[in-house]
Subunit: 113 residues, 2 copies
């Protein structure tokens, strides 16, 4: 049941019974999941990580998604703010890369439910 008083920073809120996810962690995990819970953003993650260099600029992404450039930029921003992508500006272009274990961390917190 994990009554651990010594556990890592994970999930220990005042009134939360043992083994049940704390309010704050539920909130945080939900927000991470919301970042992925969109077809366009799933395709973005898939396309970028399938790229040869592991990176892609906006102009590579707008066409396979069938969305306008502002919309793609908007989705990329959400993924960056969720800690799933990095953005690197080189010249006129902005290159986006998938942060290796970011998805795995989210997935593990879900599995631990």
């Amino acid at each position: 049941m994990m009554l651990t008083k010594n556990s890592p920073a994970a999930a220990c809120a005042p009134g939360t019974p043992a083994g049940i996810i704390a309010d704050a962690e539920a909130q945080a995990l939900a927000q991470s999941l919301k970042a992925i819970a969109d077809p366009a953003r799933l395709k973005l993650l898939s396309i970028i990580s399938a790229q040869d260099r592991g990176e892609a600029c906006v102009c590579d992404l707008t066409e396979p998604l069938g969305l306008g450039q502002p919309t793609v930029s908007h989705h990329l921003k959400i993924l960056v703010e969720a800690g799933l992508l990095t953005r690197e500006k080189r010249g006129t272009w902005a290159y986006y890369t998938v942060i290796p274990d970011a998805l795995r961390v989210i997935v593990e917190r879900v599995t631990a439910l």
Copy 2:
């Protein structure tokens, strides 16, 4: 549909390049993730699976969530329709149970991105 040349049932749509998630699968996976991407529903999954019998009725859930009964019923319905919970009516009560590997299936599709 199923234009599959030879690959497993996974992800092969007409115009979709190899290794990139198909439109339909992105749509489906996003919908599954939306079902989990809510603090109240994460807590529901956590609380129910932490129960002794592995099951809980609505009256057990409304108080630890701090939400009204109709709202809890609403969230439970979403989880049932997403294939994450089962509902069994016994007498006046409705008992909800977590479907064992439902979360794992979702998680694996995410990891395969």
